[in-house]
């Protein structure tokens, strides 16, 4: 039970530069007006901004140089994603990064050589893992028959409508495998768009029935890759949530320092001031934990320290954001109850984020096994 705790936390100059440029880019391209203008759009994001991000090399950051990336490691995507979260900038970035990580960690040489350069150049990929509401399920009901026919429906596939390829978990010869399915292989009407609580996000259910794959579609190291992408997805969601939490805090502070009630700025009331400090403390803990995780995740299969770090980051960050979003509504009073008030954007983001890549309870359950047994 007594184990040595990994306390690494480092940030390279390169990562500092990424953070600086990401902060500038995201706040410039995604102010709140831009965010709101995309809420009711079909794709949910701006193709122009996505193209700019690709042009900046962001989609290749975690891809090795030999496949057209800049090989800075998955940890270097954390400052990018935090900045996106801070400005509620939704693009298929997390989905695509996770799909490419699946290929990088589980794919064959041919798969890597074909798909990773495409991702670096802007192809969109996403994960299709869920059969039902249970993120913690260890098996999947989606079947890949011996003659390579896919059978099953996957739920809540992020950015599915714009994805060029899907990494799908399926049961094949008694084992769980990841397979790569191209968008063109889907039957007509396979996508069913979902109504999400976070209007900046997009997801579909996908019916994979009738898709026939070649044996080369299977990722050879599926098991290890699946474990890793679940954890890395948790980390990136945590990073995004931390950014959104910081933004929600800024929103609260701005209101508390401008709104006057009963003759005083409402930020002078301790009943509002102290919980706002609690938001700050929760955000600070989350930020510490995501950058610790960013430090300990590498390109190799994630070790136990990395697993602990990703799970802690996710559990902390989404709970911190939920608290911030909830209090942001409340502290805006009647205004907070309106659609016009931006506080709802953060609360809805929180309610969405907590269920991405496992909720806090899920991660704590796994942490308990890792830390208490």
């Amino acid at each position: 039970m007594t184990r040595k705790t990994n306390m690494a936390l480092a940030f390279t100059d390169e990562q500092s530069m990424i953070l600086e440029s990401a902060k500038g880019f995201c706040s410039d391209r995604s102010d709140i007006t831009a965010v709101r203008s995309l809420l009711s759009s079909a794709s949910g994001y701006s193709a122009d901004i996505w193209a700019e991000m690709v042009g900046l090399g962001w989609t290749g950051i975690a891809i090795p140089e030999q496949y057209g990336g800049s090989e800075l490691g998955i940890g270097s995507t954390v400052p990018l994603v935090e900045s996106m979260g801070r400005n509620l900038l939704s693009t298929p970035y997390i989905s695509t990064t996770m799909a490419s990580q699946a290929i990088l960690r589980g794919g064959s040489e041919e798969q890597k050589a074909k798909w990773l350069p495409l991702v670096a150049e802007g192809s969109v990929g996403t994960l299709a893992l869920l059969d039902n509401e249970d993120w913690g399920a260890s098996a999947t009901s989606c079947q890949l028959s011996a003659d390579m026919q896919l059978q099953g429906t996957k739920l809540l596939v992020n950015d599915a409508a714009v994805a060029d390829f899907f990494i799908v978990s399926a049961c094949h010869n008694g084992a769980q495998v990841l397979v790569l399915v191209e968008a063109a292989q889907l039957a007509e009407g396979a996508l069913g768009a979902k109504v999400l609580i976070d209007e900046t996000k997009r997801a579909c259910n996908i019916n994979f029935n009738g898709v026939t794959l070649s044996p080369e579609a299977i990722l050879p190291q599926s098991e290890a890759a699946l474990r890793d992408i679940k954890l890395l997805g948790a980390l990136l969601t945590a990073a995004e949530s931390t950014g959104s939490c910081a933004a929600a805090l800024d929103l609260v502070v701005a209101y508390l320092t401008s709104r006057i009630q009963f003759g005083r700025l409402i930020g002078s009331y301790q009943s509002l001031k102290h919980p706002t400090v609690d938001i700050l403390i929760g955000m600070d803990s989350a930020r510490t934990l995501i950058y610790h995780a960013a430090t300990v995740v590498g390109d190799q299969s994630l070790d136990q320290d990395a697993e602990i770090a990703c799970r802690m980051a996710k559990a902390q960050a989404t709970e911190a954001l939920l608290y911030a979003g909830d209090r942001a509504i409340q502290f805006h009073g009647g205004m907070g109850f309106t659609y016009e008030c931006d506080a709802q954007l953060y609360l809805r983001r929180a309610l969405w984020s907590q269920h991405q890549f496992g909720d806090a309870q899920h991660h704590r359950t796994h942490l308990a096994s890792l830390l208490l047994d």
Binding site: L9, E20, T257, D284, H292, A368
Partner: protein, 404 residues
């Protein structure tokens, strides 16, 4: 060999040496629960035990290692002291209890004192012959040091002190006090009228009244000054500089790099200790650590502890502290003291029916350690600015929220 490498080898040797020393010199169980902080020195046997221990640590050359040799130190680097302290902490050695001397008064005298003061005071701080106490807080003024009312009036070659101080840790055992008193009642700004003294507690007119803590133990006094006469040369700096010197004094306690003599001042309690305790307990007919609710609560605390322990590292990376640059440092006390309060409260709650026992009962879990630690922890969430005051400070100085 490079200087760096040489120091690395030297430190490596020191680690082996001190580990061995601790093994042979760490005192046996004294038959009472060891004080976790210097605020728990409530009886003569505890005092004697800690005085003897600190003297032993100093005699072995493990205290004041970065202080000059002529004042009882060893003229080595803060790294040497930190290494020794880390080993002591690891071995759960008793604390070096003369905390106000080692971490506040001593470094101040070393930094700002005269040669006479250094020679007079420093060695006695290290070898534990002279215990120091601190006279800042006053009854009715709590955390607000600006409102100090204790008067110091110049009378020839003396100052005459009148007033009272409260929460004087080891006031009844101390030989000297660092005292903040008002020399100018009508100062334009209240902070300007204060002066800082190194006051002998033996002066006529100074008396102490022990305060019984919520734990039932002693450790603090209220200290009364009734026309107490102390020599005028007890003043540090000039009249009116007291506030500035007091604030400076607070900076030293951050460690050997900041000038403190070192020595562990606190027996830290971490989650690992709680897990060891929890492993001994049963609930609903099975080991407590199999209970799902308990597991979830423990993991929540472990996450919080990890973030807390990583704080210093993140502070070293300005790029990750850009939006609220002083957030981590100003919220540090609030975050850590409140975490420990909740953690210790939870520890007591996990003990089943044994949780109702207390220090002195032979069946109390870990001798009642957790119960006492929880109760004593309020000294940290109240002392030095209550958590509520801390939250105001963070809200106003980090987030820029308006004052009340």
């Amino acid at each position: 060999m490079s200087i760096e490498l040489e120091q690395q080898n030297e430190l490596k040797e020191l680690r082996a040496e001190v580990t061995d020393w601790i093994k042979h010199n760490k005192p046996a169980d004294p038959g009472f629960l060891l004080p976790q902080t210097f605020m728990e020195v409530g009886s003569e046997p505890v005092l004697d035990f800690l005085r003897e221990w600190q003297h032993k640590v100093w005699s072995a050359g493990y205290l004041g290692m970065a202080w000059p040799e002529k004042y009882g130190g060893r003229g080595l680097s803060p790294a040497h002291q930190n290494l020794v302290d880390a080993q002591m902490k690891l071995a759960r050695a008793p604390i070096c209890f003369n905390v106000i001397g080692l971490g506040w008064a001593g470094p101040l005298i070393l930094d700002k004192g005269t040669e006479y003061e250094r020679e007079k005071y420093l060695k006695g701080i290290l070898n534990a012959e002279d215990i120091w106490c601190q006279g800042f807080s006053e009854p009715n003024h709590g955390s607000d040091l600006g409102s100090i009312q204790t008067r110091a009036e110049r009378d020839g070659s003396d100052y005459i002190i009148n007033g009272s101080k409260i929460w004087t840790t080891m006031g009844n055992y101390a030989k000297y006090m660092i005292l903040l008193a008002r020399t100018e009642a009508q100062a334009e700004r209240k902070y300007n009228g204060l002066s800082f003294f190194l006051a002998p507690m033996s002066a006529e007119g100074i008396s102490t009244q022990p305060i019984q803590k919520l734990t039932g133990e002693y450790g603090f006094t209220e200290t009364f000054f009734t026309d107490a006469r102390i020599p005028a040369d007890c003043i540090m700096g000039e009249e009116g500089q007291g506030w500035r010197i007091a604030m400076q004094t607070l900076q030293y306690e951050r460690g050997a790099e900041a000038g403190a003599a070192g020595g562990i001042s606190i027996l830290s309690i971490v989650m690992n200790d709680l897990l060891k305790m929890a492993a001994k307990v049963e609930r609903e007919g099975q080991p407590l650590l199999k209970d799902h609710v308990t597991r979830d609560n423990l993991v929540k605390l472990l996450i919080e502890e990890k973030a807390l322990h990583l704080t210093d590292k993140r502070l070293g990376i300005p790029a990750l502290c850009a939006d609220y640059p002083n957030s981590l440092s100003l919220s540090g006390k609030l975050r850590s003291t409140e975490f420990y309060r909740r953690m210790r409260q939870y520890a007591q709650s996990l003990q089943g029916t044994q949780g109702s026992l207390y220090v002195g009962d032979d069946q109390a879990v870990d001798g009642g350690f957790w119960q006492r630690a929880y109760l004593n922890n309020f000294s940290t969430t109240i002392g030095g600015g209550t958590s509520q005051v801390q939250a105001n400070i963070v809200g106003e100085h980090v987030l820029g929220l308006p004052k009340d």
